[in-house]
């Protein structure tokens, strides 16, 4: 029996709109806009008979190509980042509804009539929220990024920008890919506390899981912060809000871990061409060296176990 595989399929059937269509549509719109802009740019360039000739020393020509190549990198990455942003919203609401929606429409009683354990059920949903949804977003985002790349290449070429092919030839697609994929495990483990919290609320709340999930951490923070109007009480506001609100609710945002590792860039930065050189493929792994991510992950895992407990115990009367 390949129960888990079927549970994963089940989640996909239910949430195809969020997992597939939302990033596809947003990717499509992004491509459409850039296509329209490219066409407009090319038409304007033609109308004004812009005729650019490339002159200069070999070093200057190389600089020009490198800048265009860097632009290619940004285009590729932007497709993926857009898809990941969309997916962050999708996963937020997915996790929040994952263990609540079927209680509301009582279809939980159908799933509970099958030989499926509550742990399997919760794990299949956590697997989607943590791993499969981001992976799918990266895949869809890559396609969107490639199309963007192509559109801009054609646009620049049609506008008569000399050496337009550098957008492709001087780009570093493999490095962009490697950097994105290297950051994925960081993103997954970083997002555990938020996904754990949302799923816990989803399994526990009798009504309005969104309100509980957001109101509890935010009001708690606000109330604790407020107590410093009394003399002698000092509240570390930044730490409090960081731990409860940021790590609890926003860790799901793509690159939410970035502020903890980003340092002053050490190299030169003179436009897109230097971007590839500044970002080290595995720089994101610096997050793993800090306790922050691991404490958050442990708390997240504990909350997912809590969700299994409530899934088992809640009386669906």
């Amino acid at each position: 029996m390949n129960t888990f595989k079927w549970l994963l399929k089940r989640e996909y059937w239910e949430n195809r709109g969020g997992f597939l269509w939302a990033p596809v549509v947003v990717g499509g719109i992004t491509v459409l806009f850039s296509a329209v802009a490219s066409v407009a740019g090319a038409m304007m360039a033609r109308k004004n008979r812009v005729n650019v000739q490339l002159e200069g020393s070999p070093a200057e020509l190389a600089e020009h190509s490198a800048q265009l190549g860097g632009m290619g990198d940004i285009l590729l990455a932007s497709g993926v980042i857009t898809a990941l942003l969309v997916m962050a919203f999708v996963v937020f609401f997915y996790a929040l509804g994952s263990l609540y929606d079927d209680r509301r429409d009582r279809s939980i009683l159908f799933w509970k009539s099958m030989p499926i354990t509550d742990a399997q059920m919760v794990m299949s949903k956590a697997t989607w929220a943590l791993v499969l949804a981001p992976l799918g977003a990266v895949a869809i985002g890559l396609v969107a990024g490639l199309v963007l790349w192509l559109v801009v290449l054609l646009g620049t070429a049609a506008s008569g920008v000399p050496g337009a092919s550098s957008v492709v030839t001087h780009a570093h697609p493999l490095k962009v890919l490697a950097t994105l994929f290297a950051a994925l495990p960081v993103q997954i483990i970083w997002s555990l506390p938020t996904i754990g919290w949302l799923m816990l609320c989803s399994a526990w709340a009798r009504r309005l899981p969104f309100l509980w999930a957001t109101a509890i951490p935010l009001l708690t923070c606000a109330m604790i912060s407020f107590t410093d109007i009394f003399d002698g009480i000092e509240i570390p506001h930044d730490k409090l809000w960081y731990v409860v609100a940021y790590r609890g609710l926003l860790s799901i945002a793509p690159g939410a871990w970035l502020p903890t590792v980003v340092t002053e860039p050490t190299g030169e930065f003179n436009g897109p061409k230097d971007l590839a050189g500044l970002v080290d493929v595995t720089s994101s792994w610096g997050v793993f060296a800090q306790a922050d991510i691991w404490i958050g992950a442990a708390v997240g895992v504990a909350m997912i176990f809590g969700a299994v407990y409530f899934r088992r115990q809640r009386d669906e009367g």
């Binding site: 029996m1 399929k9 239910e14 429409d105 009582r106 159908f110």
Partner: protein, 285 residues
């Protein structure tokens, strides 16, 4: 033969109020048991306890397992239809069949598909496009293709028209039930399941007020159409219920020998509905 369900002092309280009040009963294998009671009498709570859906006090074994601690193992052998329309709205017929085939070791896909072939369901149809009756047809096709030892049906025909209801019970009896299976069913439409039941349990205010086989019910209870001149004599034997039909008193007796009653008029087996009404008198008072 060990019992499929055995309860001993089973209790369940909601906010201190007992919904099920220390009941004990046994259901042997190969039975079709009707669990019948008014609204809020504890039927559903009892069944939910047996299915491991709610915590409870007391002892309860289903197929020899404790539904609280061994629910996962239990669900390999037990299936239930909790209520109509609990199938998720987004589910497609073909996905539903694939899913159950994928997760249930005792599911017979060919059987499910042959049930579905006899309905208007088609593979790409979603639950949200179906009528109530069609949803139950799908649910029943899935459940009847599962070779479960115990099938629990809680108000399976609620909201269905008479055609669907008749077909439902007919399928259940003809295609599903055999001596190795046990079915527990609750419903308000008692007349419709009367002829398929082997056992009867009346539950009221969380207590079992009657539990016997249908044969015993026939022996124990008698309905007599009493002629007016003999009414007083009949009444002296203490009927548990009396109503009048066309000016004649119809009295229901519990445990009075039939030979003795036949002197008052025509005797016959009471219907479950009449028996139910007599037993539940004053429930909502």
């Amino acid at each position: 033969m060990s019992a499929v369900i055995s309860a001993n002092k089973l209790s369940k309280r909601y906010n201190g109020k007992p919904a099920v009040d220390s009941i004990s009963f046994e259901i042997p294998a190969g039975r079709i048991v009707g669990l019948i009671g008014p609204n809020g009498s504890g039927k559903t709570t009892t069944l939910k306890a047996a299915l491991g859906l709610v915590p409870f006090e007391g002892e309860l074994k289903v197929l020899g397992k404790d539904p609280r601690r061994e629910r996962d193992a239990l669900m390999q052998e037990v299936c239930f239809i909790a209520d109509v329309a609990v199938l998720p709205r987004w589910l497609k017929v073909k996905d539903a069949v694939d899913f159950v085939a994928g997760v249930h070791p005792r599911f017979d896909r060919a059987k499910a598909q042959s049930y579905i072939a006899h309905t208007k369901l088609h593979p790409d149809m979603r639950v949200k496009q179906m009528s109530k009756g069609m949803i139950v047809q799908l649910h029943l096709a899935l459940v009847m293709a599962i070779d479960a030892k115990l099938l629990v049906l809680d108000e399976p025909t609620l909201g269905l028209d008479i055609l669907y209801r008749k077909q439902f019970y007919q399928n259940l009896l003809e295609d599903y039930f055999d001596e190795n299976k046990t079915i527990v069913v609750t419903t308000h439409q008692v007349e419709e399941i009367e002829h398929i039941l082997t056992d009867l349990m009346f539950i009221r205010d969380g207590r079992i007020v009657l539990s016997s086989s249908m044969d015993e019910v026939g022996e124990r209870f008698t309905e007599v159409m009493v002629a007016p001149d003999k009414a007083a004599a009949a009444r002296a034997l203490g009927p548990i219920d009396e109503r009048s039909v066309f000016g004649k008193a119809v009295m229901l007796f519990d445990g009075v020998p039939r030979a003795q009653l036949s002197q008052f008029g025509d005797v016959r087996n009471p219907g479950i509905a009449d028996l139910f009404v007599a037993t539940m008198k004053g429930t909502y008072a």
